[in-house]
């Protein structure tokens, strides 16, 4: 186990998530891509804590922040999906490209 191996795993997760977030048409699948990207950030933060400064707790706090960000992203994302589906029967990003109300 080395820092580089963990960071490569994090980079891989981030890149797969980025591909999903950019390519998926369904809003919920797009959110799954975002979650996967944050997943990579968790790995990187935990690895930095363990391999660089295990004495402090800052890396752990960063993981807590990212987990909270994931929960918030998920909750608000679903609320937006519900709202836009209710207003316009839209669940694809291509149909939601304009700002018309």
């Amino acid at each position: 186990m080395t820092l580089e191996a963990f960071l490569l795993l994090a980079a891989g997760l981030f890149a797969i998530g980025l591909y999903g977030a950019l390519s998926q048409q369904s809003i919920v699948m797009l959110m799954m891509g975002l979650e996967l990207m944050l997943n990579g950030v968790i790995v990187a933060a935990a690895a930095f804590w363990y391999f660089v400064s295990p004495a402090g707790s800052d890396g752990q706090v960063l993981v807590v922040v990212v987990i909270t960000a994931m929960a918030i992203e998920m909750a608000v994302g679903f609320a937006v999906v519900t709202a836009i589906y209710r207003a316009r029967q839209v669940d694809m990003t291509d149909d939601a490209a304009d700002l018309r109300g």
Binding site: M1, G20, S26, W49, Y50, F51, S57, V65, A83
Partner: protein
């Protein structure tokens, strides 16, 4: 032993992460994402962060089950009976993703990372709690306010009635 676990979990995290965008059903994609999260939780446990690893595992199980409900509610082809591709600009997205990975991997391998300073506290969970209730109190308070704002925002967004008028 640690090496074997690390590489197994890393392969699982990446493999299931890739499957999320390859399977034919959005319900299956949800559970592939859950498997990827559980592998990441395993990696975090491997680093000695027992509390955070368990929190990630528990949170993601619940989150993905909620997500599966949304998949069945909203989305097409939840059972995966027909092939499903819902992508736009696949080549461009793949190019950007691969480019990002290459850039990040180059950075990972080229940068001269600092060496390890210090040892983990005997009880890392206690250290985290003390940090959150002490030096990192502002972070914790910000997270609390952000979560409360999320509650308000989700309720406002998901109620049928708008702020200024009834829905048409």
């Amino acid at each position: 032993m640690g090496q074997v676990l690390f590489w197994t979990l890393a392969a699982a995290a990446l493999g299931f992460g890739y499957l999320v965008f390859r399977v034919d059903s959005m319900a299956r994609a949800t559970f592939a994402l859950l498997a990827s999260f559980l592998a990441v939780a395993g990696e975090v446990l491997l680093l000695g962060l027992g509390y955070l690893g368990v929190v990630i595992a528990l949170m993601m199980v619940v989150e993905m089950v909620v997500m599966a409900v949304f998949m069945v509610m909203f989305m097409m082809n939840p059972a995966g009976l027909v092939p499903m591709t819902m992508v736009h600009n696949k080549a461009g997205s793949a190019a950007i993703a691969i480019g990002t990975f290459v850039a990040l991997a180059a950075g990972v391998l080229v940068v001269d990372w600092p060496t390890r300073v210090g040892e983990p506290a005997p009880d890392v969970t206690l250290a985290l709690g003390e940090a959150l209730m002490g030096g990192q109190m502002l972070t914790m308070m910000t997270l609390g306010v952000a979560l409360f704002a999320t509650i308000v925002a989700t309720v406002v967004l998901s109620t049928a009635r708008g702020r200024y008028r009834d829905e048409p």
